[in-house]
């Protein structure tokens, strides 16, 4: 690119947020008194001053074309004085400062095919990773799983209420670039076969000490004869961290890579402490484009929660109350050897009591 470029600047940081705040937000910053959820996709915040801001939330696939962003901008120009925001879960939020502006905005959003909802005790947007769209270590696709799952569950975004929020997440491998490990229901791409050592490449591409150190189960040791590494097969848990460090140890295996489901996590402190998700299903096949085995299992878990939980109980709180043994009987999900922990925190998870339910 030989053209004249503007002068670059470094270490200037992001633009200051104040310039991006709608007037009603700027004027009532820190003065909000309460809010009300008016419908699945509309809420109103009321300030000490009496000022109000109505927020309309819509779903997003997170992967957005600039054309779609510009469409969203057109709507924000027409209805919101040229301001908008995104949520931490990648929803788009349109804000207006007068009740009379809400319905015309909703009408235009509906006409444009936007999915309005995600507020309150519902399913909001799915936090997810890059998958096959952009990641070298993906054991599955993320956008596709989200799409397949939400096509089946969208009524819980737009309309139907749940006992509490259900936070869904998808990670395409165990690196978990997203809050998958603390979500109500999360899908995670997993491997179940050994990494393949490309001995001729190891010496050029990999640092042997850091490759050995990358293994959480000490399955990898140096192989000085080959100037490479070797793997103690029975110790490998297929996490793929060696591949992150050493590109000459690919672990992808189309026949055996699949999707695990973990459940019952949350990040909020409401009622009970933040909680890690735990294993519900160790492996389901990668079956694109719609992953029917995975979406069926998710629906089974969600339906059991809807049937069993008390109002305000998160999925994990429901399971804690009834017990994990009951979770497996209520959902009909098989309990397997893989469910019993033999990794870092194993001892804390075994039942050291004689009390359990048949």
């Amino acid at each position: 690119m030989a053209e004249n470029l503007p002068e670059r600047q470094t270490d200037i940081g992001p633009p200051h947020y104040v310039q991006f705040l709608p007037r009603v937000i700027k004027e009532n910053y820190g003065q909000w008194k309460y809010h009300e959820e008016l419908s699945a996709g509309v809420m109103v915040h009321v300030s000490e001053s009496g000022a109000k801001v109505w927020t309309v939330r819509v779903a997003s696939p997170r992967l957005l074309s600039t054309d779609t962003i510009k469409d969203i901008c057109d709507l924000a120009d027409k209805h919101c004085d040229g301001y908008l925001r995104f949520t931490t879960r990648h929803n788009v939020e349109f804000m207006v400062d007068d009740e009379s502006k809400v319905q015309p905005l909703l009408d235009d959003l509906k006409a444009g095919g936007y999915m309005i909802g995600g507020i309150g005790d519902r399913i909001s947007n799915v936090v997810h990773t890059q998958g096959w769209v952009h990641c070298h270590s993906a054991a599955t696709d993320a956008s596709g799983l989200v799409k397949a799952m939400m096509d089946e569950l969208h009524e819980y975004f737009t309309e139907k209420e749940l006992p509490n929020k259900v936070r869904l997440a998808v990670a395409c491998c165990v690196n978990m670039c997203g809050a998958v490990h603390c979500s109500d229901i999360a899908l995670v791409g997993v491997h179940k076969t050994l990494p393949r050592i490309e001995h001729d490449k190891v010496k050029n591409l990999c640092e042997i000490p850091s490759t050995v150190a990358a293994c959480p189960t000490s399955a990898i040791s140096p192989d000085p004869k080959q100037k490479s590494v070797k793997i103690k097969e029975e110790k490998c848990m297929y996490c793929g961290n060696c591949y992150s460090v050493c590109p000459a140890m690919p672990i992808s295996d189309p026949k055996n890579d699949g999707v695990a489901i973990v459940v019952g996590g949350k990040v909020s402190n409401l009622r009970s402490n933040p909680t890690f998700s735990k294993l519900a299903v160790p492996w389901l096949p990668n079956n694109p484009p719609r992953w029917p085995e995975v979406t069926d299992a998710v629906k089974t878990i969600l339906n059991a929660y809807i049937a069993g939980a008390k109002k305000h109980e998160r999925l994990g709180e429901w399971i804690e109350r009834i017990g994990w043994e009951k979770f497996f009987s209520e959902t009909g999900l098989p309990f397997t050897m893989q469910h019993i922990d033999d990794f870092t925190f194993a001892r804390e998870t075994w039942r050291m009591a004689a009390t359990f339910k048949y």
Binding site: D11, P14, Y34, W132, R290
Partner: protein, 394 residues
């Protein structure tokens, strides 16, 4: 532009109610070779059930070691449009608010130099510009930075800090999350753009214990707003909730984790000395209950995803810190933590893992933090513990 590749599997994901990422890629493919070949390569991944991206590759802009993620196709001959498909991370403004003017400006730059595909936003919080080639990186950076945008973090650096909406539009914000996030980001520009740590370091700032930014699960340093003093009660509004059908006994009193509340049908009472500030009652009766008046934050440290030896959540290291500009107490704490990490951390060891390896008391001793019961769920079980010279009678 007509589509270059047949994509029967992906076409299936254009159907259905939820917004389709395939439609987005196809929209970009109307004017982008990158997006055309992305469709082709992605279809192949759907068919073969395997990724077609190569491992890493170091690319970037002059003077920075962070902000660009190198990405290359492993079958560039088939899909030359994505032979290079690097990601540019652009540091988002606090709270994810935008003017349409600013967004259009970024879109125009990206249409000119990249795939026209984005993530709004990435998992850490950046605006993700998804897919360009190496020679476009400097022009993109010049165009962005001359208009007031900068790159975010990547690699063993401070990662782009992010926060919940906070005081901008939430009555529960005990701290000004957007201001604090901006201050942290500006203070650590060097650490953000030039990786110099054992591994990544993430900051996330939440206004209250609801933690809409998932700081406790996803940040090395989690800053979570809280308060001291009594929850403010508007008894008339409590009665309104009851009148409007809320079963206060079942939904509030019985769900309080500490049992510190009572309701006699007329007055709601809270034994504040036993409240652990979980936010349940305030979140469910937001018109009637508000946090106490003395605001601050709990500082927690150490969370991370499962790699290497299991996921960690952040744990308390400072029960209560006032959070007022210029935030020197916070920055002083960060300096001490980084010094400890710098001194002892191994390559690719997160600060939480380091503290696990060397021991929480060692960390406290070396950073000069006094032990406090809020730091633990319970004291140790086993009677093994260290003493120092000073504790021994000679």
């Amino acid at each position: 532009m007509s589509m270059k590749h047949e994509t029967p599997l992906l076409d299936e994901l254009e159907k259905g109610a939820f917004p389709s990422f395939v439609k987005e890629i196809k929209r970009a493919a109307e004017h982008s070779e990158y997006a055309q070949d992305l469709l082709g390569q992605l279809e192949l991944s759907y068919k073969e059930k395997v990724t077609h991206w190569k491992h890493g590759g170091i690319v970037g802009v002059r003077g920075y070691g962070a902000g660009v993620i190198g990405r290359y196709s492993d079958i560039p001959d088939k899909f030359p449009g994505v032979a290079h498909f690097h990601t540019v991370r652009v540091n988002q403004p606090s709270g994810f608010f935008y003017t349409t003017k600013a967004l259009r400006e970024i879109c125009d730059i990206w249409d000119k130099y990249g795939s026209g595909l984005t993530n709004m936003h990435g998992s850490t919080g950046d605006i993700i510009l998804l897919g360009t080639n190496t020679e476009n990186l400097e022009p993109i950076f010049a165009e962005l930075s001359s208009r007031g945008w900068d790159l975010g973090g990547s690699g063993s650096a401070v990662r782009t800090p992010s926060c919940c909406v906070g005081a901008a539009r939430c009555e529960w914000a005990n701290i000004d999350t957007m201001a604090i996030t901006h201050e942290i980001t500006m203070r650590f520009q060097d650490e953000l753009h030039r990786p110099m740590f054992p591994y990544k370091f993430k900051f996330k700032v939440a206004g209250c214990a609801v933690d809409c930014i998932a700081s406790i699960a996803r940040a090395d340093m989690s800053i979570i707003g809280t308060w001291k003093g009594d929850i403010q009660i508007d008894q008339a509004e409590v009665k309104n909730y009851a009148t409007n059908g809320m079963d206060i006994q079942a939904e509030i009193i019985d769900m309080c984790p500490t049992g510190c509340m009572s309701w006699d049908g007329n007055e709601l009472k809270i034994d504040n000395s036993n409240c652990n500030r979980c936010m349940h009652c305030i979140a469910k009766m937001t018109k009637a209950l508000r946090p106490g008046k003395e605001k601050g934050a709990t500082i927690l440290l150490g969370s991370k995803a499962p790699i290497v030896t299991g996921a960690l959540m952040s744990w308390v290291i400072v029960p209560f810190m006032k959070m007022e500009p210029p935030y020197e107490e916070l920055f002083d704490l960060v300096d001490r933590i980084w010094e400890f990490w710098d001194e002892h951390g191994k390559n690719r060891e997160r600060v939480g893992e380091l503290i696990e390896r060397l021991g929480f008391p060692t960390f406290l001793r070396e950073t000069g933090i006094e032990p406090h019961p809020a730091m633990v769920k319970e004291p140790r079980r086993d009677p093994f513990f260290f003493w120092t010279e000073a504790d021994i009678e000679k």
